[in-house]
């Protein structure tokens, strides 16, 4: 089979017109995807910038000082760095055993449960938060850490259940059985065989959950503001109350954890763990 694959790719060598079209498409996609980010990034260092120049006429680091010396922005960074890891931790405790059960056990209502988790995605977030708010008033959860954490965890349940479930299901059972036959205890099989093999999928789920919590703005604003402001909720008011450049600096700061985590897990995400998790089995 390999012998036929190689000539296939060479046989249909693209003509110059096709190459030109492809090149144009790549250029347009680059401008479309990367352009806005670069343009925003430049604003973070611009002193003055007049239309229609393509670069600022003078540069400055002033806006970085404005952001770094602002107390309320610092608090927002702290809050975000507290809520996101807590969300991942709690969500893991709640969802990972369930993910294992979905992959390895057959039980009454299994399929219904899997699809029921999907309800969080189908109901519009804004509408959901509005309805949750009335419940939170009644339960005295407004403006509490617990309230904000519940909102954040709700946004991670689908990732934390579906993606690890697919990862657990993909661990060959023959390996687990071989370990059992060799005398390993059930716990030992879980920690030495199943978990390490499912780890890439779990990692992808954790990264996605961290970012979901880190990016969550609408619900946090409704339930947490003004007591608990996180970086994205702060971004909403920044955009309205500060000059463009401050929002640009803040954007770069807000993007750092996302880019770092995504780069770390990029291989696994592109490797199909994310896609695999969204097919109910």
């Amino acid at each position: 089979m390999t012998a036929t694959v190689t000539p296939r790719r060479r046989k249909s060598g693209p003509g110059p017109a096709v190459m030109l079209l492809v090149g144009l498409f790549v250029l347009l996609m680059t401008i479309f995807i990367i352009g806005p980010l670069v343009w925003l990034g430049l604003h973070a260092f611009s002193e003055s910038w007049s239309y229609p120049n393509l670069l600022p006429s003078s540069w400055t680091m002033r806006w970085w000082q404005v952001v770094l010396s602002d107390k309320s922005l610092g608090v927002a960074v702290q809050n975000s760095l507290f809520f996101a890891p807590m969300t991942v931790l709690l969500s893991s405790i709640i969802c990972l055993p369930a993910a294992y059960a979905f992959a390895r056990h057959e039980f009454w209502g299994r399929r219904t449960f899997l699809i029921g988790l999907f309800a969080t995605n189908a109901f519009p977030k804004m509408g959901l938060f509005v309805t949750i708010a009335s419940l939170f008033y009644a339960l005295n959860l407004m403006n509490t850490i617990t309230g904000v954490l519940i909102i954040h965890i709700l946004g991670t349940v689908v990732f934390m259940t579906w993606i690890p479930a697919a990862a657990f299901a993909a661990v060959p059972r023959s390996l687990e059985e071989a370990a059992r036959d060799a005398g390993a205890s059930k716990l030992r099989v879980l920690t030495s065989v199943t978990l390490p093999m499912a780890f890439p999928g779990i990692l992808v789920a954790m990264v996605m959950s961290f970012l979901a919590s880190f990016d969550e703005a609408q619900g946090t604003y409704l339930v947490g503001a003004p007591v608990f402001m996180t970086m994205p909720t702060q971004m909403y008011s920044l955009v309205l109350n500060y000059p463009n450049q401050v929002a640009a600096v803040f954007s770069i700061l807000l993007a750092i954890p996302s880019v770092a985590l995504m780069t770390a897990a990029h291989k696994h995400i592109a490797g199909g763990h994310l896609a695999e998790g969204f097919q109910i089995k």
Binding site: L37, L40, H43, H105, T131, S134, V157, Q218, P232
Partner: protein
């Protein structure tokens, strides 16, 4: 995943019977926590909200009903459709509903076409350019939506890059910020990574040998795509389509930052009616309107998954 089942039954004897998905309460118990969480904090509020939208203002809805203005209360025990009548006879709502559906359809079509194009390019030709394209399409996954919305706003604004660049060429480029064009651009931008991941992974799973066989039988490019690749990757394509559409139809941040004051998408209206106009009941009615659309799409997703499960002999 399912392929391993038969061989295991063959060689592992009695133990495999026990170890195949066994009917045991422990699985049910392990699966319970996230389901309970969703039931209490999503299912229950939705039921509560449905009651509120029908004019039941007692119990847990009491606080919201007192704070809110223009609340239609049910006088009979059967509830009232007064809030729905009010919202659905509001011209602004109807316009925004149309806008929401239009943006959803356009953005979804664009996203799926782009993702399919990139996926097919990667599958049929491969190489560095194809990998570069699929890498580009995943970049938005790295960027929080608040930031990307803001970046897109400045990029297409009056003094943004597009206007500046075309001004150098002597062309007056339109201002897209605060228009529905920007909302569609933003929706495509933010939805592209998931659809691309889903569709490329689906297309990669189509065996090369089948494409090869079709080609040897004389099938052209279009024929191969329509008769071999798309049918075989049908489920991932449906999943990508429904998730994209559900994401766009209920979106808030993108239309909030990029769209005009009016008409805009219902996500923004919901927020406005709840916070700015203090009319929670009307806001909830809109949420149910969007929910009905999203449920239709969700049904398509569930159907696609059951179909795929059946094909694999699991249902």
């Amino acid at each position: 995943m399912t392929v391993t089942l038969p061989e295991r039954t063959a060689d592992a004897g009695t133990t495999s019977v026990r170890k195949r998905r066994t009917f045991r309460p422990v699985g049910f118990l392990l699966a319970l926590p996230p389901v309970l969480l969703i039931l209490v904090f999503v299912g229950f509020p939705i039921v509560l909200a449905l009651g509120f939208s029908l004019g039941f203002t007692g119990g847990l809805n009491h606080t919201v009903a007192i704070i809110g203005q223009n609340v239609h209360e049910s006088t009979s025990g059967f509830g009232t459709l007064a809030a729905y009548q009010e919202v659905f006879s509001n011209q602004r709502f109807l316009t925004d509903l149309g806008v929401t559906v239009l943006v959803t359809v356009l953005a979804t079509v664009l996203v799926i076409s782009l993702a399919l194009g990139i996926g097919l390019f990667l599958k049929l030709r491969g190489g560095r350019i194809a990998r570069l394209l699929s890498g580009l399409a995943i970049v938005p996954l790295f960027i929080p939506v608040v930031i990307s919305s803001w970046a897109i706003l400045t990029f297409y604004s009056g003094d943004g890059f597009m206007r500046s660049f075309f001004a150098h060429l002597g062309v007056e480029f339109p201002v897209w910020s605060f228009t529905m064009v920007a909302v569609i651009i933003g929706s495509v931008w933010t939805s592209l990574p998931f659809a691309t991941l889903m569709i490329t992974s689906g297309l990669q799973a189509v065996p090369d040998a089948m494409i090869e066989a079709a080609r040897d039988a004389g099938a052209g490019f279009v024929r191969i795509v329509l008769s071999v690749i798309v049918p075989m990757a049908f489920i991932p394509i449906i999943i990508a389509t429904t998730f994209t559409a559900i994401g766009v139809v209920g979106s808030f941040t993108v239309p909030y930052f990029l769209g005009p004051n009016s008409p805009n998408m219902l996500g923004v209206d919901m927020s406005n009616y709840f916070s700015s106009f203090n009319q929670p009941q009307q806001s909830v009615v809109m949420a149910f309107a969007v929910f009905v659309i999203a449920s239709g799409l969700a049904a398509l997703y569930v159907w696609a998954n059951f179909r795929s499960a059946k094909e694999q002999g699991k249902a």
